[in-house]
């Protein structure tokens, strides 16, 4: 039905101290273009694993199922090919790259993706212009660009840096893995503004969160509940409010 993102029967496992541990146990999820979907669910339900598998992390072994993205077999692609195709993952815990200048990293990434997409690379001046516009829009200071990637950044700064990368890389599918956790209201606002600014008929987002608050700003088209490695319930934006009040207990019973 949708040729944007179509996940069907996805099973994946990870090697846990020598024994394979199944984490995704048949995920079915369809995200049409132009929509923002949220995934909520208790800890350990497989939300982060789903985001890693979609982005191509090699630690996870997909044992069955399929993922098509814009008509392509996503699972057959290398992580950088997925990035070029438009998949962006905002990390729950962004990684530090000592000695690597943030602006240089961003420019290298932007140009790698532009090259792969057949666009002209940005020169130093063009890049600076674009990045300045982006930081301004996200009300962030340029000072962050001069530092090393995520090194010595506060939790909030790391998340903002992820949003800046997302803005610059212009993805068509943004996956936010608990980007809102540990953020104050202002920072939450920046994350939401970052996603909302990208909203278009050709952009979709998959937002993993524990909190209703981010969804207040994002106003998702669909909300899914994930438990024990599967999507167990789906509904509209009101579902998130329901969970906020009642918790997951009723859905867990349903899934069992």
């Amino acid at each position: 039905m949708s040729d944007f993102l179509n996940i069907s029967g996805l099973h994946a496992r990870i090697d846990a101290d020598g024994a394979p541990k199944e984490i995704l146990r048949g995920v079915d999820l369809v995200i049409p273009p132009g929509e923002v979907h949220a995934i909520m669910g208790p800890n350990g339900s497989g939300k982060s694993t789903l985001s890693y598998v979609l982005a191509g992390r090699e630690d996870y072994e997909v044992t069955s199922g399929a993922v098509s993205f814009k008509g392509q077999d996503l699972l057959a692609m290398e992580p950088e090919e997925r990035a070029a195709a438009g998949v962006f993952l905002a990390f729950q815990a962004p990684i530090e790259l000592p000695g690597v200048n943030n602006a240089n990293f961003l420019r290298t990434a932007v140009n790698a993706v532009r090259r792969a997409r057949g666009d002209a690379e940005l020169d130093a001046v063009g890049f600076l212009k674009t990045v300045r516009a982006a930081t301004k829009k996200l009300s962030m200071s340029d000072e962050m660009l001069k530092r090393n990637v995520n090194v010595g950044f506060s939790g909030g700064e790391k998340k903002r840096n992820e949003v800046l990368q997302m803005t610059m890389l212009q993805p068509s599918l943004a996956i936010l893995d608990e980007t809102d956790s540990g953020l104050d209201v202002d920072a939450l606002r920046i994350v939401a503004d970052g996603v909302n600014a990208l909203r278009s008929p050709t952009f979709s987002a998959l937002v993993i969160t524990h909190h209703q608050r981010l969804l207040d700003y994002l106003n998702p088209d669909r909300v899914h509940v994930m438990a024990r490695g599967r999507i167990v319930h789906s509904g509209g934006a009101e579902l998130a409010k329901e969970i906020d009040v009642q918790g997951y207990a009723s859905f867990l019973a349903e899934a069992a």
Binding site: D59, E78, F88, I95
Partner: protein, 496 residues
């Protein structure tokens, strides 16, 4: 899975053909007969029309060498070297007479052009022929050494106007015999070590620099070494003397054709810094490293030492070592003058079957002398890399300080990194600090970079350059850019 294998295969292929400087120049050469004996030395000396004192000096070195044994304490291994199975003199044949740039064999000019070393002063001076996208470069004076001899030295006039002497050492012997005689072997004596003695006996050419009192050398000086001929050793000798309150920045680069046999490069570099003088010596060493199975490559056995003779003098070594099958090299500083400063910044990269044992010696003799050592070691493939350093504080060096930082980065699980610091402190009023770390490029870092669209190679390049940043920033601007690219090329094929 197949996609991953394919990528790896491609990457591996890249690794094999990534040495871009491996071509050979077809040029008529003048060889001395193979082998090493007094006759070889007499022949070299007579070819170069040397005075008797230098021949005697060489013969003394040869006599010393014959009593010495090849050092075996470094963490490197190689089959025994047959010193009789090499040519000790190989020079491009040329017509007699003095050389100006116009008279240099066009084949040689083309060789250096291919290597990216411009020997045309005009093009550089005019500064108009800057290719699109490239920034205008500061002119750099170049001494080009091809196998055993210097073939061209640029910008000599400009330098002479400032009083700076920059010429092949063979010419210096002829034109400035007193200077050469006074300083040659004064920092690295003929019998200093096995390879230095060998060099002293058979050295053929190299660069000579003299910066007189109070003169800041108006441009960067640079020597570009090229081994071309088969079965030859290259033994160059560099001597740099900087008088009171004078300064110079000197760079050296080197490449060689790809060959299956190993070739020996045993150079000696001597630096002398007088009162308030400063010498910055930068090296980008890119000799042919051998193939991925360890076949061929240069044995780079080099003695480099600087003497900070005057008060407040400063010698700074910066090296980026990516080439050679084996590197054995310890650029050192003798900190004699009060308040003298020694620095050593090093990046050593080994891949495939390369071996590197490199580091420095900081000998603190004078009061309040200071030294800084920052050594970054990157090992990939089946390579082995060792940092070996000595910090020696002598009894009179009150107030001496040293800071040493050694960081190793491992790529893959078949390589080795070792740190062997020696600290000898004989003065309780001195301070010596040593820090060392070993790390691997984490899967998290690789995945993060690739998720942002970077290829594996680009990701490794970026992370490695970040790791080396403290050293690379010490290089002159243009070299820093070269070095960054070189690091990436050297590590091609190292991931996966």
């Amino acid at each position: 899975m197949p996609a991953v294998t394919e990528t790896r295969e491609q990457v591996e292929k890249l690794g094999q053909s990534s040495y871009k400087w491996g071509f050979e120049t077809d040029i008529e050469m003048d060889f001395a007969p193979k082998g090493l004996n007094e006759d070889t030395i007499r022949l070299i000396s007579s070819r170069k029309e040397e005075p008797q004192w230098l021949l005697d000096w060489r013969l003394a070195a040869f006599a010393a060498w014959q009593t010495m044994e090849e050092p075996n304490w470094a963490k490197v291994s190689h089959p025994p070297i047959d010193y009789q199975d090499a040519y000790y003199y190989a020079a491009p044949k040329k017509k007699a007479g003095p050389k100006s740039l116009d008279e240099v064999d066009p084949e040689l000019l083309r060789t250096y052009e291919k290597l990216g070393i411009p020997l045309h002063e005009q093009a550089l001076l005019a500064g108009v022929e800057v290719p699109e996208g490239e920034e205008a470069r500061m002119p750099i004076a170049v001494d080009a050494v091809f196998d055993s001899v210097s073939v061209a030295t640029t910008f000599r006039k400009t330098l002479a106007e400032a009083g700076v002497i920059f010429c092949p050492i063979s010419e210096a012997v002829r034109d400035y015999p007193d200077l050469v005689r006074q300083y040659l072997g004064s920092v690295v004596p003929v019998g200093d070590n096995f390879f230095a003695a060998l060099n002293s006996a058979v050295f053929t050419d190299g660069s000579f620099v003299y910066v007189p009192k109070g003169v800041r050398c108006p441009m960067e000086l640079s020597t570009y070494f090229r081994i071309n001929a088969r079965n030859t050793g290259q033994f160059e000798r560099t001597l740099i003397i900087v008088e009171d309150k004078a300064s110079v920045s000197y760079l050296e680069g080197c490449t060689a054709p790809m060959r299956d046999e190993n070739q020996l490069h045993a150079a000696v570099v001597e630096l002398v810094a007088m009162e308030d003088a400063s010498i910055k010596y930068s090296t980008v060493q890119n000799w042919y490293p051998g193939d991925e199975n360890g076949l061929g490559g240069i044995y780079n056995f080099v003695t480099k030492r600087g003497a900070c003779r005057g008060a407040r003098s400063k010698i700074s070594w910066t090296q980026v070592e990516t080439g050679s099958a084996i590197t054995w090299k310890y650029p050192s500083c003798i900190l004699q003058g009060e308040g003298a400063v020694g620095e050593f910044y090093s990046v050593a990269v080994t891949n495939n079957r390369q071996q590197a044992d490199t580091g420095t010696k900081m000998i603190h003799i004078g009061r309040n002398t200071r030294s800084t050592i920052i050594a970054k070691t990157i090992s990939a493939g089946h390579s082995d890399s060792t940092y070996r350093g000595l910090v020696r504080i002598l009894p009179k060096a009150s107030g001496a300080r040293n800071f040493t930082q050694c960081d190793s980065l491992l790529i893959g699980d078949k390589c080795g990194a070792h740190t062997v610091p020696y600290i000898e402190n004989r003065n309780m009023a001195a301070r010596v600090e040593h820090e060392a770390t070993t790390s691997k490029i984490s899967e998290d870092q690789m995945f993060y970079c690739r998720q942002r669209g970077l290829s594996e190679e680009d990701a490794v390049g970026l992370i490695v350059n970040g790791f080396c940043k403290d050293v690379l920033k010490e290089l002159p601007m243009e070299f820093a850019v070269e070095a960054q690219k070189l690091l990436q090329i050297s590590l091609e094929g190292s991931v996966g």
